[in-house]
Symmetry: C2
Subunit: 191 residues, 2 copies
Amino acid sequence: MGRPRTFDIDAAVDRAMTLFWRQGFEATSTEDLVEGLGITRGSLYKAFGSKEQLYAMALRRYCQHHAAGLIEMLDRAEQVRPAIRAALLELVEADLADPVPGCLLVNAATERSAHADTVQQVSSTMGQVESALAGALERARARGEIAADKEPRELAQFLTTFLQGLRVMGKARANRAFLENAVEVAVRALD
Amino acid sequence: MGRPRTFDIDAAVDRAMTLFWRQGFEATSTEDLVEGLGITRGSLYKAFGSKEQLYAMALRRYCQHHAAGLIEMLDRAEQVRPAIRAALLELVEADLADPVPGCLLVNAATERSAHADTVQQVSSTMGQVESALAGALERARARGEIAADKEPRELAQFLTTFLQGLRVMGKARANRAFLENAVEVAVRALD
DNA sequence: CCAGTTGTTGACTGATCGGTTCCTAATTCG
DNA sequence: CGAATTAGGAACCGATCAGTCAACAACTGG
Protein backbone atom coordinates (compact mmCIF):
# COMPACT_ATOMS: atom_id res chain seq x y z
CA MET A 1 0.00 0.00 0.00
CA GLY A 2 1.01 3.59 -0.40
CA ARG A 3 2.74 5.32 -3.25
CA PRO A 4 5.11 3.00 -5.11
CA ARG A 5 8.82 3.74 -5.25
CA THR A 6 9.86 5.31 -8.55
CA PHE A 7 13.45 4.09 -8.52
CA ASP A 8 15.05 0.64 -8.41
CA ILE A 9 16.42 0.20 -4.91
CA ASP A 10 18.94 -2.46 -5.97
CA ALA A 11 20.31 -0.22 -8.72
CA ALA A 12 20.57 2.60 -6.19
CA VAL A 13 22.56 0.42 -3.79
CA ASP A 14 24.81 -0.55 -6.68
CA ARG A 15 25.49 3.09 -7.50
CA ALA A 16 26.14 3.88 -3.85
CA MET A 17 28.55 0.93 -3.75
CA THR A 18 30.48 2.38 -6.67
CA LEU A 19 30.72 5.79 -5.01
CA PHE A 20 31.84 4.44 -1.63
CA TRP A 21 34.24 2.10 -3.42
CA ARG A 22 35.99 4.89 -5.33
CA GLN A 23 35.86 7.62 -2.70
CA GLY A 24 35.55 5.96 0.68
CA PHE A 25 32.89 6.52 3.32
CA GLU A 26 34.08 9.86 4.69
CA ALA A 27 34.87 11.43 1.34
CA THR A 28 31.45 10.54 -0.09
CA SER A 29 28.96 13.22 0.93
CA THR A 30 25.21 12.79 1.06
CA GLU A 31 25.13 15.30 -1.77
CA ASP A 32 27.35 12.96 -3.84
CA LEU A 33 24.89 10.18 -3.11
CA VAL A 34 21.83 12.24 -4.00
CA GLU A 35 23.44 13.17 -7.30
CA GLY A 36 24.91 9.75 -8.02
CA LEU A 37 21.74 7.83 -7.20
CA GLY A 38 19.54 10.27 -9.08
CA ILE A 39 17.04 10.59 -6.26
CA THR A 40 16.28 13.38 -3.83
CA ARG A 41 17.55 13.74 -0.31
CA GLY A 42 14.19 12.90 1.22
CA SER A 43 13.81 9.71 -0.82
CA LEU A 44 17.31 8.63 0.08
CA TYR A 45 16.69 8.96 3.80
CA LYS A 46 13.22 7.44 3.50
CA ALA A 47 14.62 4.40 1.72
CA PHE A 48 17.94 3.90 3.52
CA GLY A 49 17.69 5.65 6.88
CA SER A 50 21.19 7.11 6.99
CA LYS A 51 24.51 7.30 5.21
CA GLU A 52 25.84 4.63 7.59
CA GLN A 53 23.05 2.21 6.75
CA LEU A 54 23.38 2.78 3.03
CA TYR A 55 27.11 2.12 3.35
CA ALA A 56 26.39 -1.09 5.23
CA MET A 57 24.03 -2.22 2.46
CA ALA A 58 26.53 -1.31 -0.25
CA LEU A 59 29.31 -3.18 1.56
CA ARG A 60 27.10 -6.24 2.00
CA ARG A 61 26.29 -6.15 -1.69
CA TYR A 62 29.98 -6.00 -2.56
CA CYS A 63 30.78 -8.88 -0.22
CA GLN A 64 28.06 -11.13 -1.57
CA HIS A 65 28.95 -10.34 -5.16
CA HIS A 66 32.70 -10.82 -4.79
CA ALA A 67 32.81 -13.71 -2.39
CA ALA A 68 30.28 -15.49 -4.59
CA GLY A 69 32.43 -14.89 -7.66
CA LEU A 70 35.54 -16.34 -6.09
CA ILE A 71 33.73 -19.32 -4.57
CA GLU A 72 32.09 -20.16 -7.87
CA MET A 73 35.40 -19.90 -9.70
CA LEU A 74 37.05 -22.29 -7.24
CA ASP A 75 34.17 -24.75 -7.34
CA ARG A 76 34.18 -24.85 -11.12
CA ALA A 77 37.95 -25.30 -11.38
CA GLU A 78 39.29 -28.62 -12.58
CA GLN A 79 42.76 -27.84 -11.30
CA VAL A 80 42.95 -25.67 -8.20
CA ARG A 81 46.41 -24.18 -8.51
CA PRO A 82 45.89 -22.75 -12.01
CA ALA A 83 42.50 -21.47 -10.92
CA ILE A 84 43.99 -19.61 -7.95
CA ARG A 85 46.77 -18.26 -10.12
CA ALA A 86 44.26 -17.04 -12.70
CA ALA A 87 42.12 -15.43 -10.00
CA LEU A 88 45.09 -13.54 -8.58
CA LEU A 89 46.26 -12.40 -12.01
CA GLU A 90 42.75 -11.21 -12.75
CA LEU A 91 42.95 -8.95 -9.71
CA VAL A 92 46.30 -7.68 -10.96
CA GLU A 93 44.70 -6.78 -14.28
CA ALA A 94 41.86 -4.96 -12.55
CA ASP A 95 44.32 -2.88 -10.52
CA LEU A 96 46.45 -2.10 -13.57
CA ALA A 97 43.39 -1.00 -15.51
CA ASP A 98 42.27 1.36 -12.72
CA PRO A 99 44.29 1.54 -9.51
CA VAL A 100 41.98 4.01 -7.76
CA PRO A 101 39.07 1.91 -6.51
CA GLY A 102 41.04 -1.13 -5.43
CA CYS A 103 39.01 -3.44 -3.21
CA LEU A 104 36.08 -2.10 -1.20
CA LEU A 105 36.70 -4.75 1.46
CA VAL A 106 40.27 -3.57 1.99
CA ASN A 107 39.15 0.05 1.94
CA ALA A 108 36.48 -0.73 4.52
CA ALA A 109 38.91 -2.62 6.74
CA THR A 110 41.37 0.26 6.76
CA GLU A 111 39.14 3.32 6.75
CA ARG A 112 36.55 1.97 9.16
CA SER A 113 38.48 -0.28 11.52
CA ALA A 114 36.95 1.52 14.50
CA HIS A 115 33.38 0.65 13.39
CA ALA A 116 32.44 -2.76 14.75
CA ASP A 117 29.69 -3.47 12.20
CA THR A 118 31.96 -2.84 9.25
CA VAL A 119 34.82 -4.86 10.73
CA GLN A 120 32.39 -7.70 11.41
CA GLN A 121 31.15 -7.71 7.82
CA VAL A 122 34.69 -7.63 6.45
CA SER A 123 35.89 -10.33 8.80
CA SER A 124 32.99 -12.58 7.92
CA THR A 125 33.65 -12.23 4.19
CA MET A 126 37.36 -12.88 4.68
CA GLY A 127 36.30 -16.02 6.53
CA GLN A 128 34.20 -17.11 3.55
CA VAL A 129 37.09 -16.56 1.18
CA GLU A 130 39.38 -18.50 3.48
CA SER A 131 36.91 -21.38 3.68
CA ALA A 132 36.39 -21.50 -0.07
CA LEU A 133 40.14 -21.61 -0.62
CA ALA A 134 40.61 -24.20 2.11
CA GLY A 135 37.89 -26.39 0.60
CA ALA A 136 39.39 -26.17 -2.87
CA LEU A 137 42.87 -26.93 -1.56
CA GLU A 138 41.52 -29.85 0.45
CA ARG A 139 40.04 -31.32 -2.72
CA ALA A 140 43.29 -30.62 -4.56
CA ARG A 141 45.23 -32.47 -1.89
CA ALA A 142 42.86 -35.43 -2.02
CA ARG A 143 43.46 -35.62 -5.77
CA GLY A 144 47.22 -35.44 -5.27
CA GLU A 145 47.41 -32.02 -6.89
CA ILE A 146 49.32 -30.58 -3.95
CA ALA A 147 51.64 -32.25 -1.47
CA ALA A 148 50.06 -34.32 1.30
CA ASP A 149 52.10 -32.65 4.02
CA LYS A 150 50.61 -29.18 3.39
CA GLU A 151 47.76 -28.00 5.56
CA PRO A 152 44.96 -26.65 3.30
CA ARG A 153 43.66 -24.34 6.03
CA GLU A 154 47.08 -22.79 6.58
CA LEU A 155 47.62 -22.33 2.87
CA ALA A 156 44.19 -20.73 2.62
CA GLN A 157 44.99 -18.31 5.44
CA PHE A 158 48.21 -17.43 3.71
CA LEU A 159 46.48 -16.88 0.37
CA THR A 160 43.71 -14.80 1.93
CA THR A 161 46.34 -12.56 3.48
CA PHE A 162 48.42 -12.34 0.32
CA LEU A 163 45.32 -11.45 -1.67
CA GLN A 164 44.68 -8.38 0.48
CA GLY A 165 48.29 -7.35 0.06
CA LEU A 166 47.91 -7.59 -3.68
CA ARG A 167 44.99 -5.18 -3.59
CA VAL A 168 47.02 -2.72 -1.52
CA MET A 169 50.06 -2.92 -3.80
CA GLY A 170 47.79 -2.54 -6.81
CA LYS A 171 46.86 0.90 -5.53
CA ALA A 172 50.26 1.87 -4.22
CA ARG A 173 52.55 0.55 -6.92
CA ALA A 174 50.51 -0.60 -9.87
CA ASN A 175 53.40 -2.15 -11.77
CA ARG A 176 52.79 -5.26 -13.81
CA ALA A 177 56.15 -6.97 -13.31
CA PHE A 178 56.08 -6.38 -9.57
CA LEU A 179 52.58 -7.73 -9.06
CA GLU A 180 53.00 -10.69 -11.39
CA ASN A 181 56.27 -11.71 -9.74
CA ALA A 182 54.61 -11.56 -6.35
CA VAL A 183 51.75 -13.75 -7.59
CA GLU A 184 54.12 -16.33 -9.05
CA VAL A 185 56.04 -16.68 -5.78
CA ALA A 186 52.80 -16.92 -3.83
CA VAL A 187 51.41 -19.63 -6.11
CA ARG A 188 54.70 -21.53 -5.91
CA ALA A 189 54.25 -21.59 -2.13
CA LEU A 190 51.38 -24.03 -2.66
CA ASP A 191 53.71 -26.73 -3.99
CA MET B 1 64.55 37.00 13.86
CA GLY B 2 60.97 37.41 14.99
CA ARG B 3 59.13 35.80 17.83
CA PRO B 4 60.35 32.29 18.54
CA ARG B 5 57.99 29.33 18.20
CA THR B 6 56.63 28.18 21.55
CA PHE B 7 56.08 24.55 20.59
CA ASP B 8 58.32 21.77 19.26
CA ILE B 9 57.46 21.38 15.61
CA ASP B 10 58.77 17.79 15.43
CA ALA B 11 56.70 16.75 18.42
CA ALA B 12 53.67 18.37 16.78
CA VAL B 13 54.20 16.41 13.56
CA ASP B 14 54.50 13.25 15.66
CA ARG B 15 51.18 13.93 17.35
CA ALA B 16 49.56 14.69 14.00
CA MET B 17 50.96 11.43 12.66
CA THR B 18 49.32 9.54 15.51
CA LEU B 19 45.96 11.20 14.85
CA PHE B 20 46.02 10.60 11.09
CA TRP B 21 47.22 7.06 11.72
CA ARG B 22 44.32 6.16 14.00
CA GLN B 23 41.55 8.13 12.31
CA GLY B 24 42.57 8.65 8.71
CA PHE B 25 42.84 11.92 6.83
CA GLU B 26 39.16 12.66 6.27
CA ALA B 27 38.02 11.68 9.75
CA THR B 28 40.62 13.87 11.44
CA SER B 29 39.28 17.42 11.65
CA THR B 30 41.39 20.53 12.03
CA GLU B 31 39.74 20.84 15.44
CA ASP B 32 41.11 17.38 16.36
CA LEU B 33 44.54 18.57 15.28
CA VAL B 34 44.33 21.83 17.24
CA GLU B 35 43.36 19.88 20.33
CA GLY B 36 45.79 17.01 19.82
CA LEU B 37 48.76 19.20 19.02
CA GLY B 38 48.00 21.59 21.85
CA ILE B 39 48.37 24.69 19.71
CA THR B 40 45.87 27.17 18.34
CA ARG B 41 44.36 27.18 14.91
CA GLY B 42 46.36 30.15 13.71
CA SER B 43 49.68 28.67 14.82
CA LEU B 44 48.85 25.42 13.09
CA TYR B 45 48.18 27.13 9.79
CA LYS B 46 51.18 29.43 10.17
CA ALA B 47 53.48 26.48 10.81
CA PHE B 48 52.06 23.89 8.42
CA GLY B 49 50.05 25.75 5.79
CA SER B 50 47.14 23.35 5.49
CA LYS B 51 45.75 20.05 6.67
CA GLU B 52 47.03 18.46 3.47
CA GLN B 53 50.59 19.65 4.03
CA LEU B 54 50.58 18.57 7.65
CA TYR B 55 49.36 15.15 6.54
CA ALA B 56 52.16 14.97 3.98
CA MET B 57 54.72 15.78 6.69
CA ALA B 58 53.23 13.22 9.07
CA LEU B 59 53.25 10.55 6.37
CA ARG B 60 56.86 11.33 5.46
CA ARG B 61 57.79 11.05 9.11
CA TYR B 62 56.10 7.66 9.34
CA CYS B 63 57.80 6.42 6.19
CA GLN B 64 61.26 7.47 7.31
CA HIS B 65 60.78 6.02 10.75
CA HIS B 66 59.37 2.68 9.63
CA ALA B 67 61.42 2.06 6.53
CA ALA B 68 64.53 2.87 8.55
CA GLY B 69 63.51 0.41 11.27
CA LEU B 70 63.03 -2.44 8.84
CA ILE B 71 66.20 -1.70 6.87
CA GLU B 72 68.25 -1.56 10.04
CA MET B 73 66.80 -4.83 11.26
CA LEU B 74 67.66 -6.56 7.99
CA ASP B 75 71.18 -5.11 7.90
CA ARG B 76 71.92 -6.22 11.43
CA ALA B 77 70.57 -9.73 10.89
CA GLU B 78 73.02 -12.63 10.88
CA GLN B 79 70.47 -14.93 9.28
CA VAL B 80 67.99 -13.33 6.94
CA ARG B 81 65.12 -15.79 7.06
CA PRO B 82 64.73 -15.74 10.85
CA ALA B 83 65.03 -11.97 10.77
CA ILE B 84 62.21 -11.66 8.23
CA ARG B 85 60.12 -14.12 10.19
CA ALA B 86 60.68 -12.16 13.38
CA ALA B 87 59.82 -8.88 11.66
CA LEU B 88 56.54 -10.27 10.35
CA LEU B 89 55.61 -11.79 13.69
CA GLU B 90 56.34 -8.45 15.34
CA LEU B 91 53.77 -6.84 13.07
CA VAL B 92 51.32 -9.57 14.02
CA GLU B 93 51.86 -8.75 17.69
CA ALA B 94 51.32 -5.06 17.05
CA ASP B 95 48.02 -5.73 15.30
CA LEU B 96 46.87 -8.12 18.04
CA ALA B 97 47.69 -5.54 20.71
CA ASP B 98 45.69 -2.82 18.93
CA PRO B 99 44.03 -3.60 15.59
CA VAL B 100 42.67 -0.09 15.04
CA PRO B 101 45.64 1.93 13.76
CA GLY B 102 47.17 -0.75 11.54
CA CYS B 103 49.74 0.70 9.17
CA LEU B 104 49.62 4.35 8.13
CA LEU B 105 51.15 3.44 4.77
CA VAL B 106 48.36 1.00 4.00
CA ASN B 107 45.76 3.46 5.25
CA ALA B 108 47.25 6.17 3.05
CA ALA B 109 47.36 3.88 0.01
CA THR B 110 43.71 2.94 0.38
CA GLU B 111 42.10 6.16 1.62
CA ARG B 112 44.07 8.52 -0.60
CA SER B 113 44.70 6.56 -3.78
CA ALA B 114 43.35 9.47 -5.83
CA HIS B 115 45.96 11.89 -4.43
CA ALA B 116 49.12 11.68 -6.51
CA ASP B 117 51.46 13.06 -3.84
CA THR B 118 50.36 10.53 -1.25
CA VAL B 119 50.53 7.63 -3.69
CA GLN B 120 54.00 8.75 -4.74
CA GLN B 121 55.22 8.81 -1.13
CA VAL B 122 53.73 5.40 -0.41
CA SER B 123 55.09 3.90 -3.60
CA SER B 124 58.56 5.23 -2.91
CA THR B 125 58.58 3.76 0.61
CA MET B 126 57.35 0.39 -0.66
CA GLY B 127 60.23 0.56 -3.11
CA GLN B 128 62.67 1.09 -0.27
CA VAL B 129 61.23 -1.86 1.64
CA GLU B 130 61.45 -4.00 -1.48
CA SER B 131 65.06 -2.99 -2.03
CA ALA B 132 66.06 -3.65 1.56
CA LEU B 133 64.49 -7.09 1.40
CA ALA B 134 66.04 -7.81 -1.98
CA GLY B 135 69.47 -6.79 -0.70
CA ALA B 136 69.17 -8.97 2.37
CA LEU B 137 67.97 -11.92 0.33
CA GLU B 138 70.79 -11.41 -2.15
CA ARG B 139 73.31 -11.63 0.67
CA ALA B 140 71.49 -14.66 2.04
CA ARG B 141 71.72 -16.38 -1.31
CA ALA B 142 75.42 -15.57 -1.62
CA ARG B 143 75.95 -17.21 1.77
CA GLY B 144 73.93 -20.25 0.69
CA GLU B 145 71.15 -19.45 3.16
CA ILE B 146 68.51 -19.70 0.45
CA ALA B 147 68.44 -21.71 -2.77
CA ALA B 148 70.50 -20.39 -5.68
CA ASP B 149 67.61 -20.71 -8.14
CA LYS B 150 65.43 -18.18 -6.30
CA GLU B 151 65.37 -14.61 -7.52
CA PRO B 152 65.91 -12.26 -4.55
CA ARG B 153 64.04 -9.41 -6.24
CA GLU B 154 61.00 -11.57 -6.91
CA LEU B 155 61.00 -12.89 -3.38
CA ALA B 156 61.27 -9.32 -2.10
CA GLN B 157 58.31 -8.24 -4.23
CA PHE B 158 56.34 -11.15 -2.89
CA LEU B 159 57.26 -10.35 0.71
CA THR B 160 56.47 -6.66 0.31
CA THR B 161 53.04 -7.57 -0.99
CA PHE B 162 52.42 -10.16 1.70
CA LEU B 163 53.45 -7.68 4.36
CA GLN B 164 50.71 -5.25 3.30
CA GLY B 165 48.18 -8.07 3.38
CA LEU B 166 49.24 -8.88 6.90
CA ARG B 167 48.50 -5.32 7.99
CA VAL B 168 45.05 -5.48 6.39
CA MET B 169 44.20 -8.84 7.97
CA GLY B 170 45.45 -7.56 11.30
CA LYS B 171 42.70 -4.97 11.19
CA ALA B 172 40.03 -7.15 9.66
CA ARG B 173 40.55 -10.42 11.44
CA ALA B 174 43.03 -9.96 14.26
CA ASN B 175 43.33 -13.63 15.12
CA ARG B 176 46.65 -14.98 16.29
CA ALA B 177 46.47 -18.45 14.75
CA PHE B 178 45.34 -17.11 11.39
CA LEU B 179 48.08 -14.49 11.13
CA GLU B 180 50.83 -16.74 12.43
CA ASN B 181 49.91 -19.52 10.03
CA ALA B 182 49.97 -17.08 7.16
CA VAL B 183 53.42 -15.86 8.20
CA GLU B 184 54.80 -19.39 8.44
CA VAL B 185 53.63 -20.27 4.94
CA ALA B 186 55.04 -17.03 3.59
CA VAL B 187 58.44 -17.58 5.21
CA ARG B 188 58.50 -21.15 3.94
CA ALA B 189 58.11 -19.74 0.43
CA LEU B 190 61.66 -18.40 0.74
CA ASP B 191 63.14 -21.90 0.82
C1' DC C 1 64.80 52.09 22.04
C1' DC C 2 62.79 51.50 17.84
C1' DA C 3 61.84 49.26 13.31
C1' DG C 4 61.22 45.00 11.31
C1' DT C 5 59.90 40.32 11.55
C1' DT C 6 57.60 36.37 12.97
C1' DG C 7 54.51 33.64 16.24
C1' DT C 8 50.16 33.55 19.01
C1' DT C 9 45.44 34.20 19.77
C1' DG C 10 40.56 33.86 19.30
C1' DA C 11 36.91 35.52 16.83
C1' DC C 12 35.17 35.08 12.33
C1' DT C 13 34.06 33.34 7.40
C1' DG C 14 31.37 31.06 3.83
C1' DA C 15 30.68 26.45 2.60
C1' DT C 16 29.31 22.14 3.42
C1' DC C 17 28.13 18.46 6.57
C1' DG C 18 24.37 14.75 7.73
C1' DG C 19 19.76 14.84 8.68
C1' DT C 20 14.68 16.65 9.25
C1' DT C 21 10.27 18.61 8.19
C1' DC C 22 6.24 19.66 5.79
C1' DC C 23 3.63 19.51 1.96
C1' DT C 24 2.09 17.19 -2.12
C1' DA C 25 1.56 12.96 -5.13
C1' DA C 26 0.40 8.32 -5.90
C1' DT C 27 -1.14 4.13 -4.55
C1' DT C 28 -4.42 0.29 -1.95
C1' DC C 29 -8.26 -1.12 0.70
C1' DG C 30 -13.00 -0.70 2.04
C1' DC D 1 -15.21 7.97 -3.44
C1' DG D 2 -12.64 8.61 0.84
C1' DA D 3 -9.29 7.03 4.56
C1' DA D 4 -4.93 5.31 5.24
C1' DT D 5 -0.33 4.77 3.85
C1' DT D 6 3.94 5.60 1.67
C1' DA D 7 7.10 8.13 -1.67
C1' DG D 8 8.85 12.54 -3.74
C1' DG D 9 10.52 17.11 -3.33
C1' DA D 10 12.51 21.30 -1.70
C1' DA D 11 13.32 24.26 1.79
C1' DC D 12 15.43 24.23 6.00
C1' DC D 13 18.27 22.93 10.42
C1' DG D 14 22.13 23.37 13.72
C1' DA D 15 26.71 21.68 13.61
C1' DT D 16 30.92 21.40 11.83
C1' DC D 17 34.13 21.92 8.07
C1' DA D 18 38.83 24.00 6.48
C1' DG D 19 40.78 28.18 6.43
C1' DT D 20 41.51 33.59 7.36
C1' DC D 21 42.26 37.82 9.77
C1' DA D 22 43.59 41.67 12.66
C1' DA D 23 45.34 42.77 16.93
C1' DC D 24 48.89 41.70 20.00
C1' DA D 25 53.38 39.57 21.79
C1' DA D 26 58.22 38.39 21.60
C1' DC D 27 62.23 38.32 19.49
C1' DT D 28 66.77 40.55 16.56
C1' DG D 29 69.59 43.96 14.39
C1' DG D 30 70.71 48.74 14.14
